[in-house]
């Protein structure tokens, strides 16, 4: 009896581990393949197409992409856009999130309503009007134009996220500080901000990831190489040099790096972020 029980339990445990392993393999395989092709010499690409690892590896694709293509420029542009967006959004959202967490005010319902409405309609609806408006004030083909648009798109969800971080800090702490002799602003700066830093970092990470990935508005608003972000540049490259797989995938791996770094930064906060911005990807 006990033997069959433990055998059954062992089988269940084994099945569980194998299932987890299967998920890990499926999750990682496409990324592994990206990496594999990016280090495969072009001459082996067709002869060893389906092998798990090439008989010979090379950094030549990376070297080419970094030295002879516009990708460093695209990378820099994407970095500027994503970092500025993330910084501005986090600051703006911290203000509104703090107000929503700590004050009862008449306009609060309207604020929540406004933020929710923006999460409900398809953003593709805005592509045409935003293009016309921005081109009339000269903000197409400009990184500032992209930052402006991305900031607006990410503020609503970031406000809810920051609010949840402020909510998790007891009000007592601020009150204790005010009784200890601090003004509300000092209590905010000396007590609340240090405690919300991890939350702000998480918000920064979420917004950075979102801005780094944005494709459609970048395609619409940017047509010049100078101002191209990574996705625009990569798609342009694909349509122009569609056969240079090694270089494309090397560029792809480069685009992946910042996203993965920020993923590690915000991993702990994924649940909070996804529930705050449930509508967001």
């Amino acid at each position: 009896m006990t033997v069959t029980m433990s055998r059954k339990r062992f089988a269940a445990t084994l099945a569980h581990r194998l299932a987890v392993l299967a998920f890990i393999v499926v999750a990682l395989f496409p990324l592994f393949w990206l990496l594999k092709v990016s280090v495969t010499p072009t001459k082996l690409l067709y002869s060893e197409g389906v092998r798990m690892w090439p008989s010979e590896t090379t950094w030549a694709h990376y070297a080419f992409v970094i030295e002879n293509s516009d990708f460093p420029l695209f990378f820099r542009n994407s970095l500027i856009v994503s970092l500025s967006t993330a910084l501005i959004v986090t600051l703006v959202a911290a203000g509104a999130g703090y107000a929503m967490s700590r004050f009862a005010f008449r306009g609060k319902m309207w604020l929540v309503g406004l933020l929710l409405v923006t999460q409900m309609f398809p953003l593709v609806m805005l592509i045409a009007p935003i293009f016309k408006i921005l081109s009339s004030i000269g903000l197409t083909n400009s990184l500032s134009g992209l930052v402006l648009v991305y900031t607006a798109f990410n503020v609503p969800f970031a406000v809810f996220l920051m609010q949840s971080f402020f909510d998790s800090i007891p009000k007592d702490l601020e009150e204790a500080a005010m009784i200890d002799g601090a003004t509300r602003f000092m209590a905010f700066r000396q007590i609340i901000v240090p405690l919300t830093l991890p939350g702000m970092a998480a918000t920064l990470g979420f917004v950075f990831t979102a801005a780094w990935s944005e494709l459609l508005f970048a395609l619409m608003l940017i047509s010049k190489t100078d101002a191209s972000t990574f996705p625009v540049g990569l798609l342009g490259f694909v349509s122009k040099f569609g056969v240079d797989f090694g270089q494309m995938m090397a560029a792809g791996v480069l685009a992946l790096i910042p996203a993965v770094l920020f993923f590690l930064l915000i991993q702990r906060f994924l649940v909070k972020g996804l529930t705050a911005g449930a509508v967001k990807g």
């Binding site: 204790a176 005010m178 009784i179 200890d180 002799g181 601090a182 007590i191």
Partner: protein, 360 residues
């Protein structure tokens, strides 16, 4: 150290009125306990004194100065919160010195003050730790330390012990009392625990539904509760109540008949119109059981006996109404036994049946 005057203070949250014209004078160095069930407005009153809630009407005066419009930082009060509200990112020393640093006091002075407070509270070995590395009792001490490093006009305590387990609560209660004796600081202490109120207070303020029911020494509230609410709230196990009616009696005396047929003869010092409705109260520890009940005792049935070690709470019933008696020493009765019960006339509290105010 300062006296505090609360004059006709009202508080409303939007349409909801939570305090109704509260008046209270607190002397310098006095230990006042605000006690009452949750929602009675005691915490709101404390927070208004602290400056954390706006005053809707009336005046709060601390040390002779009207403070209605002063922000908390200009009132120079210290407060201990129920949640302790320790700053998680600061050490114990950092928590205790924060208020002094805000006041830009010299570093050496701060160090002396913190060391002194840590010494008093037995925190000296822990000053470099962070709050999350401390036990519940230690956190409580840090919260107290944060209050005593300063020389505030008064200490405010908002249910400071309710997050502790029973044994620790007793121990801290005693420490708070010693601390008060040592510092002699004006203190206002909010609790829903009547034992805390009784043990700590110079004067207790019993509150219900946003009004003060009685102000007095612990003995006053226990021996002469001003109304039925205070009588029922103070004392554990709680006072027994019986509905009764006044019957014709000799001049200068009252005679009462309860609905289950008990009569109380010749209660001195009280004249009542015949058939006046009232409520009789008697504390469980004043109910006499068995032999102690003596001559003329009534028969009752024991429902349940709860030994407490020092004595026992005996639940018994007359007719169909259950009452409790506290019997010192060992109780030999069992459920179902019949027992002799006496309610000594001189121990009775009489209250008006409609408005609950004390009659005798």
């Amino acid at each position: 150290m300062a006296a505090i005057d609360i004059r006709a203070v009202d508080k409303s949250f939007q349409k909801l009125k939570v305090l109704h014209s509260v008046d209270l004078s607190i002397d310098k160095g006095e230990f006042i306990v605000l006690v009452g069930p949750s929602g009675c407005g005691k915490s709101t009153l404390l927070r208004m004194i602290a400056g954390l809630e706006e005053v809707t009407g009336g005046e709060i005066v601390i040390g002779g100065k009207r403070v209605n419009d002063l922000p908390p930082k200009e009132r120079n009060l210290a407060m201990v919160f129920q949640s302790y509200a320790l700053y998680p990112h600061m050490t114990v020393a950092g928590n205790m010195s924060y208020s002094l640093r805000l006041r830009k006091i010299a570093k050496e002075k701060i160090a002396t003050a913190v060391a002194g407070a840590a010494d008093i509270l037995g925190l000296a070995p822990l000053v470099e730790r962070r709050p999350r590395q401390l036990s519940g009792g230690q956190r409580q001490r840090v919260a107290m330390g944060r209050a005593i490093v300063r020389e505030p006009q008064a200490f405010l305590w908002d249910e400071p012990l309710s997050n502790l387990d029973a044994r620790l609560r007793e121990q801290m209660r005693a420490e708070i009392k010693k601390l008060h004796r040592r510092l002699g600081a004006t203190s206002i202490y909010v609790t829903h625990d009547q034992i805390e109120a009784m043990t700590l207070a110079d004067r207790i303020v019993a509150m219900e539904a946003g009004t003060i029911q009685q102000i007095g020494s612990p003995e006053d509230l226990y021996e002469r509760p001003a109304n039925r609410f205070v009588a029922g709230f103070i004392g554990s196990p709680a006072m027994n109540f019986l509905d009764a009616q006044a019957a014709p009696a000799n001049a200068g005396h009252a005679r009462l008949v309860t609905e289950d047929g008990l009569t109380f003869e010749a209660i001195p010092g009280l004249e009542l119109p015949s058939s006046r409705q009232l409520t009789i109260g008697i504390r469980p520890e004043h109910v006499l059981l068995g032999e102690a009940a003596g001559e003329g005792a009534k028969e009752a049935t024991v429902d349940l006996v709860e030994p407490t070690g020092m004595g026992a709470i005996v639940h018994f019933r007359f007719a169909d109404i259950s009452h409790q008696a506290y019997h010192l020493g060992r109780a030999s009765w069992r459920a179902g036994d019949s027992v002799k019960v006496a309610l000594p006339t001189e121990r009775l509290h009489l209250f008006d049946a409609t408005d609950g105010r004390r009659l005798n």
